[in-house]
Structure formats: structure tokens, C-alpha cells
Symmetry: D2
Subunit: 363 residues, 4 copies
């Protein structure tokens, strides 16, 4: 059995299950195969900074890691080695330097856990600098076309669903319209799944501009049938179809969407139109934090094992994925950058409408 020495890193936004992937890689590669695994801190930054920030990972250093949220390696959205900030407002290419650092550390290749951006960087590193990469997909929004599900998604859905359960009891006691803003700037998967799981009456998605009047009509129709409350799930990226510009209150600073902006916009419309009380909850990063649900832990563990198997087989340049219930893999080159969004013919979208959920549009 050949011995290998590989690096592992996490890039982009965090998602519950990152630590479970790291643990599985270490448990299998180090614990069973007796390889060496080196953790690189804060994506590639740990290799490009001086001094380098690296950790030798062993089964012992992974104790208690499986249920833990976040990532022990840290992560960042900043630090594309091909476009590294040069401090003068511009960028420069540090990819050759990075490849050199990887060789200096004796790393045969890298397991890169990250979203489509990270995977694209990995593929480019492999092509242009000859750095062997195996990818593990990560996106809490579940918007990567290459994989059916990624770890973290069902954990986020659980947070949002529990929130709906809580809001349901208090909405019912009070005759109120409750709005829950969830993550999803371009893809509304969390809103759709949590809305179905939590019994929402209305869901707004980034994929469908909603007509506030249809939503008000739904609230009124429920009232007419003796239901004095309505639960609305609002994806943070959803917008009204009325053509009005985004309220300025929704954006501030460096272009971030203001927490609660999308929900507040709709709440204001409802209050003005129907004179009912509305209440807004904004989950924000609660959806990223905390312990992964068992589904995500199992998936993350299987992704980690498969990543090591790919290296065992010398099959660098591929990304593991889940397809039709099976763990398989796909060439990194084929990992599309177009996000997978909710389509009108998705079966769950259809089922959601059949149990009476309103999406704010004639479809």
C-alpha cells in the first residue's frame, strides 16, 4: 500500500457537515490507510500567508468533530489565488506561488471542499499549475447542478422548519400574519422544502416574482374560512413583481441584502393593504450554524470516504456527488457554474401547489 500525503481545505460559506467530511477523510486516510493528511487553514490563505497555517490531522484531532458545526480549518470567501488582492485595489495571480507552496509541503494533492467557485478554482489550479485536486461539493442552498443534495441543506431546512412550527402555535393564538425570511438569494430550495415541511400557506421564491395582491387574497381567503393566521416563508432573494425598485432600505454597505429586507417589504404591503398585524423573523446565519442533521452527517461521511477512494485510485480531477441516491463522481471540468434553481416543473413544486401553497403568481 502506497503512502500518500495530501492536503485538505474548506472554502466559501460554511455549512453544517464540513467537519464531518474532514473527520471521514482523516479516519479513513490516516486511521485505516496510514496516509498523512494536512489541514490548510482559511481556504488557500493558510498556504499563501507567512507563516503558513497548517495542521497535521489525526484521528485523535478529530475527536468529537462529527456533530460539530462550522469548520475547524476556518473558511473564507476571500482569497482566489488567481486574483489575490494586491493591497492597491487591484489583484494579482498567486497561483504559481500556491503550487510551489503545495510542493514544498510535500502534498501530493488537495481535497477541496467548497462551492462552485472553489471547484472552478481547483480545476484551474489543476490545469494551469498541475496541482492534483479532488472536489467535495458544498452549498447550503443546494443549488449545485452537479449533485442532488449536499450536506448542510437538510440542516438548514430543519432550522427553518422548526421555526415554522414555533411560529404556527403563536400565530394561531393571535390571529396574525407571520413572515419567516430564509436564505436563498438566487435559488429558493430552502424556502420550498421548509415551506412544505413546516406547513407554510405562502412561499415566495427568488425564481418567481410575486404579486403581493395574490398573497393578500390568500390571507383573506383563509380568513373567510375561519383561519385567522397565515404563515409566509420568504426567500431573502424574492422580490415583488410590481416593477417597483427595491426599497432602498433593503441594501446597504457593500451591496449586502439587509437582513429582513425581503420579508419587511412584503409585510409592509400586507399591513397597508389588509390592516392586519404582521410579525417578521429573520433566521440569517442560524441556518448555517449548529450540528448537522443525521442525513447530512451520513452524506458528509460518505463524501469524505469517496474522496479518499478517488485518490487511492489515482482519479484526481473529479468531484464526488450524490446522484439518484448513489455516491458517484463527475469530472471537475463539468461542474457547471450555473446554479440549479427551482423550476416550475419540479415535482416538489407541483406537490406544494397541490397541498394548497400559494406562490404569489398565476402559474
Amino acid at each position: 500500500m502506497a503512502t500518500h500525503r495530501i492536503g485538505i481545505m474548506t472554502g466559501g460559506g460554511d455549512a453544517p457537515g464540513l467537519n464531518a467530511v474532514i473527520r471521514a477523510v482523516v479516519k479513513y486516510a490516516v486511521g485505516e490507510l496510514h496516509w498523512q493528511v494536512v489541514g490548510i487553514e482559511d481556504a488557500f490563505n493558510g498556504l499563501l500567508e507567512h507563516p503558513r497555517r497548517l495542521q497535521d490531522l489525526t484521528p485523535k484531532s478529530c475527536k468529537g468533530l462529527l456533530p460539530q458545526g462550522g469548520t475547524i480549518l476556518g473558511t473564507t470567501n476571500k482569497g482566489d489565488p488567481f486574483a489575490w488582492p494586491d493591497g492597491n485595489g487591484g489583484v494579482r495571480d498567486r497561483s504559481a506561488e500556491l503550487a510551489e507552496a503545495i510542493r514544498e509541503e510535500g502534498l501530493e494533492g488537495i481535497i477541496s471542499i467548497g462551492g462552485d467557485g472553489s471547484q472552478a478554482i481547483g480545476w484551474r489550479l489543476m490545469q494551469e499549475q498541475g496541482v492534483p485536486i479532488v472536489g467535495v461539493p458544498k452549498t447550503i442552498d443546494n443549488d449545485l447542478a452537479a449533485t442532488d443534495f449536499t450536506f448542510g441543506f437538510w440542516s438548514a431546512v430543519e432550522v427553518a422548519t422548526e421555526a415554522l412550527d414555533r411560529l404556527h402555535t403563536t400565530a394561531d393564538a393571535h390571529d396574525r400574519v407571520m413572515l419567516l425570511e430564509v436564505m436563498g438569494r438566487t435559488a429558493g430550495w430552502i424556502a420550498l422544502y421548509a415551506g412544505v415541511a413546516g406547513g407554510a400557506d405562502v412561499i415566495t421564491l427568488p425564481e418567481i416574482d410575486y404579486d403581493p395582491e395574490r398573497i393578500c387574497a390568500k390571507i383573506q381567503q383563509r380568513k373567510d374560512r375561519g383561519r385567522n393566521f397565515t404563515l409566509i416563508v420568504v426567500a431573502e432573494g424574492s422580490t415583488p413583481a410590481t416593477g417597483e425598485a427595491l426599497p432602498s432600505a433593503r441594501r446597504h454597505g457593500r451591496g449586502h441584502i439587509v437582513a429582513g429586507g425581503a420579508a419587511q417589504t412584503l409585510a409592509q404591503h400586507i399591513t397597508e393593504r389588509l390592516h392586519v398585524e404582521t410579525r417578521v423573523t429573520v433566521l440569517g446565519h442560524l441556518q448555517r450554524g449548529g450540528s448537522p442533521v443525521p442525513f447530512d452527517r451520513v452524506l458528509a461521511t460518505r463524501f469524505g470516504v469517496r474522496a479518499v477512494e478517488l485518490i487511492e485510485q489515482g482519479r484526481w480531477g473529479r468531484m464526488v456527488r450524490l446522484r439518484d441516491g448513489m455516491i458517484t463522481d463527475v469530472p471537475l471540468a463539468e461542474v457547471a457554474r450555473d446554479p440549479r434553481i427551482v423550476s416550475l416543473d419540479h415535482p416538489l413544486f407541483d406537490a406544494a401547489r397541490k397541498v394548497g401553497i400559494e406562490f404569489g403568481a398565476a402559474l
Copy 2:
């Protein structure tokens, strides 16, 4: 054993444990003492509307009620019988009508579960209209001076604490400042208890105008010591001490505080001052919803039993309460309307400072 026929109602905002009080009253009064208990819907509205909305309550109708959030009787903040909206923008006194309805329904008296407002109405009803009342205190903010704790408070603290646990892992992964806005317009108990229980670095309270600079200094100090994230709990009623008027974005419609306004105000200051990323979560009504924690279920059960005992003993005009770990009672006349707020010499406030929590003020 004399037989009694009593009414029960819930008024004001809901809190986890309302159903547990109702259940305990019914289990003891109906199940053991063979009295009759009538549930009045939506506070006194159920008696003042035509037709009246009342429910005969039996142990069977309380099946599964103990863990259930909300209130099966419904509740409302509207409908003071002494100042009932007359439909023309004014109010009229319907208290005599209410007393008449209570007599017509054969109710010997009422168990009124509610906050200081409800208790004051109850006491006035008893004095002016001769309606016997026993009070059960309810305030999710724990700001009633007459009782050490009420049910619902620890449930709200648990929701906020779990949120901090979740934010902790993701903040740690990302080097971010996370702000969690919790309930508390005039009293900051939830912020204080949850902040201590969830390991917050900074807490802002309605009782202490905060200096944003001190908070930025705390963030910077943590950074200097290698802690790249900071967790901040923001009570919704807390405001900066800088003398600046409340940002207009914080208020809208009928004077409601905008969800997230207080957190957003502080977040904006931090972003502008320190150029760090901030993220805001707004719990809102999540804190009212869901199943009560065991502490609240036990307390609610004991309150319900004690309320019936007071009626057994003919001691109308009193409110049950928790004092120094014991269930006792207090004259309704003495239930102060001044909310109990966090004082600088409260032992938990002192302990919080000793474990290093910053309150944004030199104290």
C-alpha cells in the same frame, strides 16, 4: 364538597405554558374536584361578542395540551371592557355588560391568566362590578415585579440560547460579528439571561444606553487576542447613547418597532467603524412559540393548581406567584404596573460582567 362553575381566559401576548395552566386548572378542578370550567375565547371578547364563544373544558379536552405552545382559548391585546372600541374611534365602558354575561353564564368567578394590564382590568372588574377574579401572572419578558419568574420566560431564553449556540459555530468559522436581536422593549431580562447562557461577548439592554465605541473597542480587543468573531445580543428596545434620534427605519406603521431595527442600527455602526462583516438574526415571535421547557411546564402546572386552591378557600382577588422558590399569592390590588427592569445591582448582571461581558457603558 361544594361544586363550583368558573370561567378561565387568557389575555395579552401568548407565552409558552398558557395551555399548561389551563390543563392544570381543568385536571384539578374538573377531574378531581368535579367542578365545571368554562373556557372564554380571545380574552373577554368571547363573552362580549354575539354569539358568545365559550368552551366547556374537561380533562378529555385537555389531551395532549401540556407540551403545546400558544393557547387553545386564543388571546388578544384588544378588548379592554372598560374602554371598548365603539367603532367611531372612541371607546365605551362595557364592564357592566360583561359582568352581566358572566352572571348569565352562571360563572362564580374568573381565572384570568395575563400580564399586568389584564390583572389591573381584573381587579377593577372585581371592585367595580363585583366579578370575583383570581389572577395568574403571564409575561414572557419576566418583567412583572410581583413574581420572581413566570412561565414562558425560560422557554424564550432557550430559543435565544440555542440561537447563540448556532451562531457561535458559524461565527467562529468565518471571522464575523454576529448580532442576535431578542425580545425586550423595556426590560432586558431575555437578553441578559440568554447572553449569559449562550456565551455572548456583548449584550445591549433597554435599561442602559450603549456607547457604540465601547462595543467596537471590545470587538477590536478580542481581535487583538486572536478571537476573530464576536457575538452580540441586542434587546429590541436598546438604543445607542449618542443622542442621535432613532433611525427612521426603525419605526413604521402604527408605532411598531421594526423587526431587526435595533440590531441593524448597531450592525451598521460596527461595519462603518471597523470594516468587518456583520450578520443579523432577528428571532421575533420564535421566542413566543413552541413547546414550553420543563421549568415552565412545572411552574404553569403549579400556578394552575394554586389558582384552584385559592377558589376552594374562597380567596378571590388574589394573584398566584413565585417568590423565593415557593408558590404563594398576593392581593391583585398590589400587582404593580411598573415593570421590573434589570438593575445594575442585580446579581446576574454582576456575574455577567465578571465573566467578561461588555454592556456598552462604563458602569
Copy 3:
């Protein structure tokens, strides 16, 4: 749009998600299609007893049902209409009587939510008595070959995984061997999934007779590496390979496995052999109870909608199922009665071994 009047029932052991199926059927069939849906209580018993026990189901009667465990219709393992207890220790065929009752109630057909036993009865009823049936699969053990997953399974896995998380912290503090007995008499899926998700060191399955010596060796090996605790998941149907008869203590009454018997058997062996302290937890029906996780709620909702769609299309005699991530359906005649068990070449079993989990056998 033709109007239909259909019955719905739940049979066999309960599983989280039964109410979510019922709700989805009612929401779609009654709320959207304006059919009539009649709930039959306690499987077919509600039609065979006098008076019959039936409920008209409407969207209103499904309020709050989605997150609720159990089944509002009740369920039972007793009452095969083809072999009904005659009270004298024998059985008699009441299937014609049942078919007659279904016709008398004006039911066009029945949605039968149940395990392989219920589905076989349904198929026989259709063939022999002409009662149209659509099946919805239910098995908390996930051992139905016809479907990849059923609702309730991931909820059970979550209960077991949370238990492992808890045991982990206390085992670690105390240098102990902790055994967790989970459901699974013939199929060890819950043990396998929860063991992987909860970081078990050892899993015993009904499918693999375990050698207690191998398990003791694993405990010892961990000790040698400085890990003074070991977490073991024991499926209730797992047995040692030593050829010894089952300890008499494991069985009592009418052939039930005694709660904790399998774990106690292994614990005793470990204590005697290694002189270490062991502690046993027996989850029992905790695994069936409580609110379904979002995965199960979504799956149950989709199953319910699909069952109604089958009836819309006149496709009686089929069972809905999940295959490769898609909701499809299969002829009731083909629903095999052989349970799907864990095979040695199942990918998760392989992954489990690769992260170092011991199954007590040389494989």
C-alpha cells in the same frame, strides 16, 4: 371534475409522518379537488366494529397535524380481516363483511398506509373482494424492498443519533463503554445509519452474528491508543455468534424481545471479559414517537399527494414509493414480503467500515 369519496386508514406500528400523509391526502383531495375523505379508525377495525368508527376529514380537521407524531386515526397490528379472531382462539374470514361495509359507506376505494402486511391484505382485498386499494408504504425500519426510504426512518435515526451525541460527552468524561439499543429485529438499518451519524465505534446488526471477542479487542485497541471510552450501537435483534442459546432473560410473555436484552447480553460479556464499567440505554418507542423530521414530512406529503393522483388517474392497485430520488409507484402485487436487510455490499456498510467501525465479524 368527477367527485370521489374515499377512505383512508393506517395499519401496523406507528411511524412519524403518518399524520403528514393523512393531511396531504385531505389537503389535496378535499381542499383542492373537493372530494370526500373518510378516516377509518384503528386500521380496518373501525369498519368491522359496531358502531363503526369513522371520521369525516376536512382541511380544518387537519390543522396542526403536519408536525404531530402518531396517527389521529389510531392503528393496530391486530385485525386481519381474512383471519379475524373468533373469540374462541380460532379465526374467521370477515373480508366479505368488510367489503360490504365499504360499499355501504359509499367509499369508492381505500388509501391504505401500512407495512408489507397491510399491503398484502390490501392486495388480497382488491383481488378477492373487489375493493379498490392504493397503498402508501410505512415501515420505520426501512426494510421494505419496494421503496428506497419511507417516512419515519430518518426521524428514528435522529432520535438514535441525538442519543449517541449525548452518550459521547458523558462516556468521554468517565472512561466507560456505553451501549445503545435501537430498533431493528430483522433489519439493522437504524443501527447502521445512526451508528455512522453518531460516530459509533461498534455496531451490531441482526444480519451479522457478532463475535464478542472482536468487540472486546476493539475496546482494548482504543484503550491502547488513549481512548478510554467506546460507543456501541446494538440493534435489538442482534445476537452473538458463539452458538449459545439466547439468554432466557431476553424473552418473556408472548414472545416479545425484552427491552434491553440484546444490549445487556453484550454488556455482560464485556464486563466479565474486560472488567470495565458498561452502561446501557434502551430507546424503545422513543424512536417511533415525536415530530417527524423535515425529510419525513416532505416525503409523507409527496406520498399523500401521489396517492390521490393515482386515484385521479383511476390507477388503483398500486403503491406509491421513492425510487432513486423520484416518487413513482409499483403494482401492489409486486410488493415483496421479504424484508430488505443490510447486505455486506451496501455502500454505507462499506463506508462505515472505512471510517473504522467494527461490526464484530471478520468480513
Copy 4:
């Protein structure tokens, strides 16, 4: 400000909140007062073994510790320094050696977190060997007379209450008698509080020998009123009053109570007498594991701060405690070794009976 160097240790069984005490001590003593705090591993064993096992504790080493179950210092029931196993089946006094080690390490005194046994050892160490001790009470059973509540108790009650919630839904679906065995060998506080919080129908306590016939009568009475299920909480130390010896199956090995023995004994009686199905769940160490509830985190934090305050004030020889809602302290000499048990005149016991809970005895 004088500088101090103190030790801290955890002894006896673990309880959720131990880490929160350690964290509060370190945050205040090191972070604010700039003392030194040394963690001693596995109670006093870390000082008596060679090499010694000690940890310098800093705020940084306490990162993420607040919500964490178990104890980072480890704990053990073995190792009384006054009666240390000599390896030949006897014991010898190593207390002088321990005092010497404490002096060698430059420790001014020790914060000892433990139960009545640990506190008695601490007091003896102080008297006989001049080792300054401050005690922090710990007992998951809440049976220490000196304090109203200790951390860990409400966390255990929450685990047991959630279990009852789960069992309720499945019991209801199935017409069954469910038995939940909880901790409590001599004191039944967990059974009492969880039974009230979880809506048990029957509770058995170690303090009251139960008459199985009364419990069967309760089950039958519920059946007669249309309630086909019964929830029973069984404290592990409870026994029938029938005078029969404990079934041999309940004890094994070194005198441990067999997990589930108490519940199984009662279940068997019910099955034989009423011919109903029973199901047993045994929580075992689940009650010790996992994250402390907010109540316990706040209490543990306040205990930790107060322990440091006592040392600041030079008040060695005392134990912190909660009395009537206030954190106070008591001389170690007065910490009684008699456990506080449930008395028939305890107010919660009275309230439990008034909501209809049966304790298996005419009282």
C-alpha cells in the same frame, strides 16, 4: 490586586454544566483578575499519578466550552485520597502526599466541584492537611440538602420530559402502557419533575414502595374513561411494596442495578395482570449527557463566579449554593451527607397528586 494560583477539579459522576463552571472560574479568575488556574485531571488522580496530569487553563482553552456536556478535566468515582486502593485489595491514606503535591505545584487552594462525597473529602483535606478548599455542589439527582438546585438537574429533567412527549404520541396511537425508567436510586426528584412536566399518569419513586395493584387500577380506570394508554415514569430505585424480594434479574455483576430492571419488574406485573401490551424505555446515561439547558448554564456560571469571589475574600472552607433564588454559601462542615429525598409534604408532590398523578400508594 493580589495574584493567586489555584487548582480546579471535578469529581463523581458527570453532570451537564461542569464545563460551564470551569469556564466561569477561568473567565473571571484568569481573564479579569489575572490569576492562574490549573485544571487537575480525573479528580485528585491527576495529582497522585506520575506523571501528574494538569492543564493550565486560560480563556482561550475555554473556547466553546459553555454548551459542552461532560467535563474537559475528566472525572471519576474512584480515588478517595484517604482510602486509596493499595493494589492488594486494601486501601491506604495518601492525603499527606496529595497535600504535598498541591504545595509543590504552588497551588494556594482547590475549587472542588463534586457531590457530597467530594465535599466531605475536601473538608477533611482542609482540616487534616491544611489544604484550602472551596466547594461547588454537583448532583444530577438534586439530592443535596445544602442547595435548592444544582446544575445538571434541569438538563436531566429535559431529557426525560422530551422522552415522555415522544412516548405520548406513540402510546396514543397504539393503546399501550409505556414505562420510562429514569435515574434516581434513593431520591426521585427527576421522576417527580419530569413526570409532572411530561404529563405522566403514574410515577413510582424510591421514597414510596408502590402497590402494583393500585397502578393497575389506575390503568383500568383510564380505560373505562376512554383513555387507552398510560404513561408511567419509573425511578430506577423504586420497588414494589409487596414484600417480594427484588427479582434476581435486577442485579448483576458488582451490585449494579440492571438498566431497566425497575421498569421491567412493573411492566411484567401489568402485562400478567391486565393482559395489555407494555413497552419499556431506559434512558440511562442520556440523562447525564449533552448540552446543559440555559437554567443550568446560568446557575453553573454563577456558581463559578461565586467560588472565585470566596477566594478573593479569603473565605476558604465554604461551598457555594442556591437558596431561595439567591447564590449564597455555606460552611463545608455543614454539608450534610444525608441525601435530600422527596417528602410527602413537598409542594410539587402535592400539586402532582392534584392533577391526578398516581404514586402507587394510599397517601
